[in-house]
């Protein structure tokens, strides 16, 4: 295999690995821009992966699975909202709690229903999102450089992958070009002003969390029935936190979020590829460095060495209406 082929295959797997990050980071974008910290992204992803795998297993319908995944993630989002908006509880604590509930519940229920050590049953082919060959992919394959790129990286992904990339401009449009988006960003910076304008801070934040749940549901579904064919115990494996890192790395902006997710996905893919291989001059690079790199990069960014990340000002602060 020459270097170009290797590069293409790493790029393909980078795309596949960045999709759950992209959905989750966009999910976090909506809640954090509305002033609600969401540590619970990991839990939402895990719970929706479990729900989508269960429903897809019993119905054999991938879209039903997606629906279940989305509903479950929204449900988790609403609990988060009930705790942190209605009851003005600590958002971090609520997120941590939901992560635990999701991690425990998926295994307990999975074991009780399927009895396979926390796995769900194998989802039939009809219950999965499989690869779509874009028109002309086979024809283009032999064209140098562009051909393999089109056939192996751009084509052949499942529908959720394309939806993920579609969500980026949509999120941008919603956040920056609609009234809802303007208000959402305002409520994350200065909820008092939004309240003064006669708009309900509570309802606005709940709506932001519904969007968060909706997008996180896609992420979980992707993990369970697009990337694999069953729910596997703890299958999100920290991706929710990497997505959170990507969100911060992208300074809470939709288009940079996409690039951050692609970068972190690429690091992951590169780490997989480098496992047990040697680099010229340096020798074997430990894979752990690549695994830690997204977090290290984010910390370096937070230290202010690669520009400064300003979080939404009202983030993490429950809003109390003046009495």
């Amino acid at each position: 295999m020459d270097y170009f082929d290797i590069f293409i295959s790493i790029l393909g797997s980078a795309i596949r690995l960045s999709i759950p990050l992209l959905f989750t980071a966009l999910a976090g974008l909506f809640s954090e821009r509305a002033g609600i910290f969401d540590i619970g992204l990991e839990g939402k992803m895990l719970a929706s992966a479990f729900a989508s795998a269960c429903v897809a297993y019993y119905t054999g319908n991938a879209w039903a699975g997606l629906g279940a995944g989305i509903l479950t993630a929204i449900l988790f989002s609403m609990v988060h909202g009930f705790a942190s908006i209605t009851n003005r509880g600590n958002q971090i604590v609520s997120g941590v709690a939901l992560n635990f509930v999701a991690a425990g519940l998926t295994i307990v229920l999975g074991q009780a229903w399927f009895n396979q050590g926390g796995r769900t049953g194998q989802v039939p082919a009809s219950g999965r999102f499989s690869g779509i060959t874009l028109p002309g992919a086979d024809m283009m394959r032999d064209v140098p450089i562009i051909g393999p790129l089109y056939a192996n990286v751009i084509s052949g992904n499942n529908i959720l992958t394309y939806i993920a990339f579609l969500m980026v401009p949509i999120s941008w449009w919603v956040l920056y070009r609609t009234r809802f988006g303007l208000r959402l960003r305002a409520v994350g910076e200065n909820p008092g002003a939004v309240d003064t304008a006669g708009i309900s801070v509570t309802w606005l934040r709940y709506r932001a969390l519904i969007v968060t749940g909706f997008l996180a549901g896609f992420a979980g579904t992707y993990l369970a029935i697009a990337q694999s064919a069953a729910f596997i115990n703890n299958m999100s494996a920290g991706k929710g936190y990497i997505a959170l890192a990507a969100l911060i790395f992208a300074k809470w902006k939709p288009v940079p979020v996409m690039f951050a997710c692609l970068l972190f996905g690429f690091l992951d893919a590169f780490a997989n590829f480098m496992q047990g291989k040697e680099l010229p001059l340096i020798g074997e690079v430990p894979v752990q460095i690549f695994q830690a790199l997204p977090y290290i990069l984010t910390c370096v960014l937070l230290a202010g060495f690669i520009g400064i990340a300003h979080p939404p000002k009202a983030g993490g602060v429950p809003y109390t209406k003046e009495r």
């Binding site: 600590n90 971090i92 709690a97 509930v101 519940l105 295994i107 959170l244 977090y295 937070l302 979080p311």
Partner: protein
């Protein structure tokens, strides 16, 4: 009238409200048990008997309690200064490296009581080191401590993974773990403590770290409520602006608080590493750092409360393990669900019932 500003007596604030929250958490956990077709009351019975029925069970319960006291204190110290240290997990993991390095270098030459103080210092130093960068980022760069401590949990996990797989591993061994420490690098078991009450410790790993944990509880109480630094920490926690006007240095307090918090988390490693397995193992922390959050919240960030709630979680962990033997349909991960419910109800939904309780209290007292 708003109920938020009505003062409640301490016994309601620190007794009734946590108890009701706990009952709610158990109610919802019971619902899960019932949902999978088992009897929640029977499950609770197995759980309690498993945790407290025999000397060995008690030994295991107190062993888990020890770890949770350390991580609970770690979280609590930070909370008093208004900092949310969610990185106790990583700090404990790195603390394990400190303890193990001391044990590995001294165990050939000296008895355990000489190794012990060095190991305590080593564990605390490494734990504090892990908290140092997030603390610096918070104090000097203004980045959010929650985010950076989460990042450090993962960074430490990768680092330890590398060290155990490549460096500390016994040559030609399969398992990524260090060599077993000799007696000089182990914490002695506390058989005598259990036999004092007529039980037998058996295989339970309850060890000397338990006593260290209790000493730390006392020291943390001294620090928070009886020293100038503790006063400054609490001031900062209540109102950073007030602390600023009083001339307290925000940067200094944040740094010191986080170093202490990380040090306490690091000491948790003494218990599993030197007390139980006598070697450094991969992922030995096993979520105890996160349990610390629940322990601290339940215990209202007070050392006495932390001992009690650590005991509660110790019972859950040990009882949960026994429960999964008695009721195979319920896996050990049921504890994780209960833990999540406790954090949710005792932490995030802490004030959900307060208005109702205030109204009931006003009715009863006739005010």
């Amino acid at each position: 009238m708003s109920t938020a500003s009505v003062p409640l007596p301490a016994w309601i604030n620190y007794g009734v409200i946590p108890l009701i929250n706990l009952i709610l958490a158990f109610f919802f956990s019971g619902l899960v048990v019932w949902l999978i077709g088992e009897n929640p009351f029977e499950a609770l019975k197995y759980l309690v008997i498993g945790a407290l029925g025999r000397g060995e069970g008690i030994g295991f319960t107190l062993f888990y309690t020890t770890s949770f006291i350390f991580t609970g204190l770690s979280v609590a110290v930070a909370i008093h200064a208004g900092l949310f240290n969610i990185g106790s997990e990583g700090q404990a993991y790195l603390g394990g490296l400190g303890a193990a390095l001391v044990a590995l270098s001294l165990d050939h030459y000296v008895p355990w009581y000489v190794t012990m103080p060095f190991a305590v210092i080593g564990a605390a130093l490494f734990g504090a080191a892990c908290a140092a960068i997030p603390a610096w980022l918070q104090a000097y760069r203004g980045s959010h401590i929650v985010i950076t401590t989460i990042m450090f949990n993962f960074i430490v996990s990768s680092l330890m993974n590398y060290l155990l797989v490549r460096v500390l591993i016994v040559p030609k061994a399969m398992a990524p773990e260090s060599r077993t420490f000799l007696e000089g690098g182990q914490m002695p078991k506390l058989d005598w403590l259990i036999s004092m009450f007529g039980g037998k410790l058996g295989a339970a790993p309850l060890n000397f770290s338990f006593l260290i944990a209790l000493v730390m509880c006392y020291l943390v109480w001294l620090l928070i409520w009886r020293t100038k630094l503790g006063y400054e920490m609490r001031t900062l926690g209540h109102s950073p602006t007030a602390a600023g006007y009083a001339g307290m240095s925000y940067k200094k307090i944040v740094m010191i608080t986080m170093l202490i918090s990380g040090g306490l988390a690091g000491m948790m490693a003494l218990n599993p590493v030197m007390g139980a397995s006598a070697r450094l193992q991969i992922e030995f922390v096993g979520g105890a750092g996160f349990v610390g959050i629940a322990v601290s919240l339940m215990g209202r960030n007070h050392p006495a409360g932390i001992v009690l709630s650590a005991l509660l979680f110790g019972i859950l962990y040990q009882g949960g393990a026994e429960l999964s033997f008695d009721m195979p349909a319920i896996t050990r991960d049921m504890i994780v669900v209960i833990q999540g419910m406790v954090i949710l109800f005792a932490g995030a939904l802490e004030y959900m019932l307060r208005p109702a309780i205030v109204r009931a209290y006003q009715q009863i007292t006739g005010k």
